[in-house]
């Protein structure tokens, strides 16, 4: 009766593909889209370095329908990254105490998302403004 023989159950190999962990896996892969976008910029830099002809090819590819579709997918992934990034933000911070009470994490996320929208909008406004004045 008192025999001790602990049984070790193995972790399911595909845990990351199932609820509730699937959302986490999708979130991580949306971060990979950030690097894919970085690769597109790096390709542009390489073409710029090689000279005007190579750069013209890069521009032609970038204005194609395929590139448009790729950027739409990347934008969707990037927006998911933005949302999930700021959902985790309050987890990485000490509790914010305002007037003796902890600030709800959803409020931190909402404010951070607002700041992010302002940052992105400001960048676009600045670029458009430079275009108008030049």
């Amino acid at each position: 009766m008192s025999e001790r023989r602990p049984f070790h159950r193995p972790q399911p190999r595909h845990w990351w593909a199932h609820k509730p962990y699937l959302a986490y896996t999708v979130r991580e892969l949306s971060g990979v889209a950030v690097a894919v976008y970085g690769a597109i910029l790096l390709a542009g830099l390489i073409c710029l370095w090689r000279g005007p002809e190579a750069y013209a090819v890069y521009r032609r590819i970038l204005s194609s329908d395929a590139a448009f579709a790729v950027h739409l997918v990347l934008l969707a992934a990037m927006l998911w990254h933005v949302l999930t990034w700021f959902q985790i933000l309050p987890k990485t911070m000490p509790k914010l105490i305002l007037r003796g009470r902890p600030v709800p994490q959803r409020q931190v996320t909402a404010i951070a998302l607002l700041v992010a929208m302002v940052c992105s909008a400001a960048l676009l406004v600045v670029v458009v403004a430079i275009g108008v004045t030049s």
């Binding site: 970085g38 690769a39 390489i46 970038l62 448009f68 990347l74 670029v127």
Partner: protein
Amino acid sequence: MRPTILHHPAPKRSVAPVFWLLFGAGGMLSALFGPALIILTGFMLPHGWGVPANFSDFPHVLAFVRHPIGKLVVLAVIALFFWHGAERLFLTLKDMRAGPPLLLRLMTYGVAALLTLVTIALLLAIGF
């Protein structure tokens, strides 16, 4: 009187903070400016939407990348985005048990490090 504390030996320190900070910097930069950057370089510049048609001409972009601030922007965006993606891809591949950790590290952090060096080299080769 300070109470006697039973001390535990400290484990070996991990170098993970270095990669975690690069991941975090890339994550924050992309979270703040990523959507605008994709809209700008993926839609507005190639199609001349909201910007002058000559905005993405070779001389214009070359001048931007030759400017020291332009160089810093390009390096920060490309390198940090790679480090961000590398950390996330590494962790996901590790979760999927896709291979030995050393190989996975080379495929992710290794590539990010290499491409960071390539970016720096290109920015220097393009000149000031």
